[in-house]
Subunit: 208 residues, 2 copies
DNA sequence: TATCAAATTAACCATTTGGTTAAACTATTT
DNA sequence: AAATAGTTTAACCAAATGGTTAATTTGATA
């Protein structure tokens, strides 16, 4: 048996290459040869480590979907924070995640629309727990003085405001900043504060 | 020459079939044979009308991108409406568009991320005019008492809140409604009122 | 109704692509 | 150092795929 070091190295070289290619091109657009080239190995070695393109893709997708759902539920349930603090924390963490992985939103949306079942398939392993989520909604509902349904919409709106500027980068960059990527990136950095403010102001404006 | 009726019929049969297939599967996932089958014609006929897959795709994409940007600028510039009325009008029209074309957001986002240049390529024909857009922003900035930059973020947030629930359908339906599509559709129908309220409340809450 | 151009099709082609195989290589064990 | 088991590669394969060609059909026109 080869030393574990080299063994693991090849596998992670493959995983890193596959991530880059799949995230950028999607399952349909990716080529096994390109992944092999990117990892600087023979194509047959891909099939030696991961039996098929599908299997390799699923391995990558599972990891990416997992990071797409941030581990923020405990914070949202914390009794030591106001709902304003919770909103700020959530928005900042979520946007930071996408600033570090700018292509994650477009990738997940693309693949999830290509094969909607894939989301049900991995729901268990994705760090999302429906029960906990409902608990969060109840807590927020009490804290904010809104109905459960209003909290649901509020959550979706908040998540939308975080995700869309990344998923729609080519549109926003071109239409709003005439292709100037510096301005677009500046805009993204401002987002954390703006989105949190926006949501908090909306709750205030509603309850007046 | 054959009668115009039949000629046009075949071409539109192709366009309708191509739209269905491309919107669902994207450029990479679509197959010319499938489009031919869907249109109930021979595959060679596709190439007779549209020389290549790329050309056929571009024809479809241009149309879809065009409908993705609604013609709402005149309304937003109208001096006879309050900014609240404008927001309500915009949100209602935009969400209605997606209720009629639920796969449009995912399609546009997918293709625009696959090939970011495509958006610059069609910006002229897409019914979007940067100059007019800036005019809208100035008008809204005055009406709402917000800075230009705040209006920019506000616009992106509003658009996000309209688009994401459609682009992220598989995620929302599964995570928030455990796969119950009736509940998901109910949620979508409520959105028009909620999003408009949300934005308007936020402006109110901010200026207090 | 003979002619002609456009529309349509069946058969075919070249390339790409995911996947396989058998041989070669490497490191560990005896 | 011979045997062994895991790793890596070059060469290959079958199916799929976008695209082409040559022949046939269709319908209008003279």
């Amino acid at each position: 048996m080869k030393s574990n070091k080299i063994e693991k190295d090849t596998e992670s070289k493959i995983l890193e290459a596959a991530k880059r290619v799949f995230v950028q091109k999607g399952l349909d657009g990716a080529r096994m040869q390109e992944i092999a080239d990117e990892a600087r190995i023979n194509k047959a070695l891909l099939h030696y480590y991961f039996r098929s393109k599908e299997k390799l893709f699923m391995t990558i997708f599972k990891v990416e979907l997992n990071s797409f759902f941030p581990r923020l539920i405990p914070v949202l349930l914390s009794p030591d924070m106001t709902h304003e603090q919770k909103i700020r924390h959530f928005v900042e963490e979520y946007i930071d995640l996408f600033l570090k992985n700018p292509f994650l939103p477009a990738f997940v949306l693309r693949e999830v629309n290509r094969n909607p079942q894939i989301i049900a398939q991995f729901i268990g392993e994705s760090g999302i727990d429906s029960r906990k989520l409902k608990e969060v909604m109840k807590v927020l509902s009490n804290e904010m003085g809104l109905s459960l349904n209003e909290v649901l919409h509020l959550m979706v709106t908040t998540v939308s405001a975080c995700i869309f500027p990344f998923a729609g980068k080519p549109i926003i960059e071109q239409v709003l900043f005439e292709g100037n990527s510096t301005e677009y990136n500046q805009f993204l950095r401002e987002r954390k504060k703006f989105v949190a403010d926006f949501v908090i102001f909306s709750i205030k404006g509603r309850t007046i």
